[in-house]
Each structure stands twice: as structure tokens, then as C-alpha cells.
């Protein structure tokens, strides 16, 4: 059996990056920040950072994985920035935030915290849960874009990147209990939005 030469098999070909990876990176970015302009800028920044850092490329990962890791870093930076901005001007960036009392009865009234009525979950159409890619994706992105930005970050990292709560909290600098409240509220809002625009029987 031949012994493979101990070379790093992966090398960089920046001339081909746009043709090979631009759409992939754009898709990756847009599904996580749901803002086309920002996604486009991120792809560009990723290529520029990659060019700057290309001498550090060790060839351990393939080119695509390496570029994605750079993009991912940039997305997290953006998430962080949004999280900070949120604290600075809570009101402004929370214009889309749906309040709990949109779903649940007032904590002071009768049967506090129970489903209030008009936005209760409704049965879904069976066939809509059998995925029709393009359309569902469009609506998913539209619903995501209605979440406050800081929630979108948490939501995408959890549901798209399958990251654990610990790593999300660490990367975004939020507490565990705050994390669960964000997941709760984002899920309530996404469920409602997708029900109204997609799943409605």
C-alpha cells in the first residue's frame, strides 16, 4: 500500500472563489441575518479577510470550510453588535417585538398566563408540513426578518447551526435565563407568523 505524501492537500485558489463559493456563502449569510444587503456585504468582507489571511491558511480544512468559518465569525460579530445596540436603545430596535400579552392573558386578570384566545395555536394543514422548498423558505425568511435582530441571532444559531445553548450564550454574551426567554418569545412569534402565512388550514 502506498503511503500518502505528508503534504497538506488543500490549497487556496482565490481566482475561483466567486464562482465556487459566492452563492453558498450568500445563502449561508442570508439565512442567518435575513437582510440581503448585509449578507452581500458579509460575503465581500469574508473574501477580503480571507485574502488578508491567506498566508495563515494551513491546508488542514478545505477551502470552503475555511471560508465558512471566516463568515461565521463575522456573523457572530454582527450579532454581538446588534445585541449591544439593543441595550443602548431598547425601544427603537424592538419595534417588531410582540408582547407576551398578544398571546397570553394578563398576569393580573382571571386565569392569568393562559392562552388569550385570538392568537391561540390552530390546527395546521397536513400538506403544508410536507415541505415545498422555495415558497416555505421565502416565508420563513420573511418571518425571521420581523423578529428583533438580537432574537434572530439566537434563533438562527440554535435552529440552523444546531449550536448548544451554552455556546450561544457564550458567543453572544447573554445569560442562560435570558436565552430561554428569547427562545420562548421568538418561537411564539415565528409559530404565529408561519401559521398565518403558511400553515393555515
Amino acid at each position: 500500500m502506498a503511503i500518502p505524501a505528508p503534504t497538506s492537500t488543500h490549497k487556496l485558489e482565490p481566482e475561483k472563489w466567486v464562482d465556487n463559493y459566492a452563492d453558498y456563502l450568500f445563502t449561508y449569510a442570508i439565512s442567518r441575518i435575513s437582510d440581503e444587503d448585509e449578507a452581500r456585504d458579509l460575503v465581500q468582507d469574508t473574501f477580503l479577510s480571507a485574502l488578508k489571511g491567506k498566508d495563515n491558511f494551513k491546508g488542514e480544512a478545505n477551502e470552503k470550510t475555511w471560508l465558512v468559518s471566516i463568515l461565521k465569525r463575522k456573523i457572530i460579530d454582527l450579532y454581538r453588535k446588534n445585541a449591544v445596540r439593543k441595550e443602548q436603545s431598547f425601544e427603537e430596535s424592538d419595534s417588531y417585538k410582540v408582547a407576551y400579552d398578544h398571546y397570553f392573558r394578563d398576569d393580573d386578570g382571571s386565569r392569568p398566563g393562559h392562552w388569550a384566545g385570538k392568537n391561540n395555536p390552530q390546527p395546521w394543514s397536513e400538506q403544508k408540513t410536507n415541505l415545498e422548498q422555495g415558497e416555505f423558505r421565502r416565508i420563513l425568511v420573511a418571518c425571521l426578518s420581523k423578529l428583533p435582530k438580537a432574537w434572530t441571532s439566537v434563533f438562527s444559531m440554535k435552529f440552523m447551526d444546531d449550536e448548544s445553548s451554552e455556546s450561544i450564550c457564550k458567543e453572544l454574551g447573554i445569560s442562560t435565563s435570558n436565552y430561554w426567554v428569547i427562545i420562548h418569545r421568538a418561537k411564539l412569534q415565528m409559530r404565529e407568523c408561519l401559521e398565518k402565512n403558511w400553515f393555515k388550514a
Binding site: 452563492d23 452581500r40 477580503l48 485574502l51 392569568p112 395555536p121 422548498q133 448548544s164 420562548h184 409559530r191
Partner: protein
């Protein structure tokens, strides 16, 4: 206290045996990830779901969403405009030649 802190406090301090739907949905989302809740939370949730059809529906739909969202992102594709790609190529080439 900011908005989210207020709610964090709500869930931390008031979860007892008798859950309201706000707490039940919170706990069942938590359970999707952590798998094991505390003994009290586990039983309180089980009890609530035994009679609350909306929370039961919410649980089912939440699981459907998790699955669909995961699949969608993995397989769907967005495309940059050719115009944008050309701009990127130009940028990369000028960078390569410049350095």
C-alpha cells in the same frame, strides 16, 4: 429592569405545580433542548399537557417547525446577482495583483 429581565424573573420565581400556558410553553421549549427538567417542572408540565389542548398543539407544531427550519436552510439556495459577482471578482483580482 429591561423587558427581558422582567420576564426572566417571572419564569425563575413563579414556576409551581400549577402552570399557566405561558409557563408551560416556556418549559416545553426548554425541554426540547435540555431533555431533563427538574422533577417539579417535569410533572407540572405533564399535568398541564394532560388537559390543555392548545399547549399540546403548540408542542406538536414546535417540533414540526424545528424539523422544517433545519431542512430548509440546509437545502435551499440563494443567488447573488451576476453584477455583484463581477464586482467581487474585480475586487479579489485587484487585491491579488496589488499585493
Amino acid at each position: 429592569m429591561s423587558g427581558d429581565d422582567k420576564h426572566t424573573h417571572y419564569f425563575a420565581s413563579t414556576i409551581g405545580w400549577n402552570l399557566c400556558c405561558k409557563q408551560a410553553t416556556y418549559l416545553l421549549l426548554k425541554k426540547e433542548e435540555v431533555k431533563e427538567l427538574s422533577f417539579k417542572e417535569e410533572w407540572a408540565l405533564k399535568f398541564h399537557l394532560s388537559f390543555c389542548k392548545f399547549c399540546k398543539l403548540f408542542r406538536k407544531q414546535s417540533a414540526i417547525l424545528n424539523q422544517m427550519i433545519g431542512k430548509t436552510v440546509l437545502t435551499s439556495k440563494a443567488q447573488l446577482l451576476q453584477r455583484d459577482k463581477d464586482k467581487l471578482k474585480l475586487l479579489i483580482n485587484s487585491n491579488l495583483n496589488g499585493n
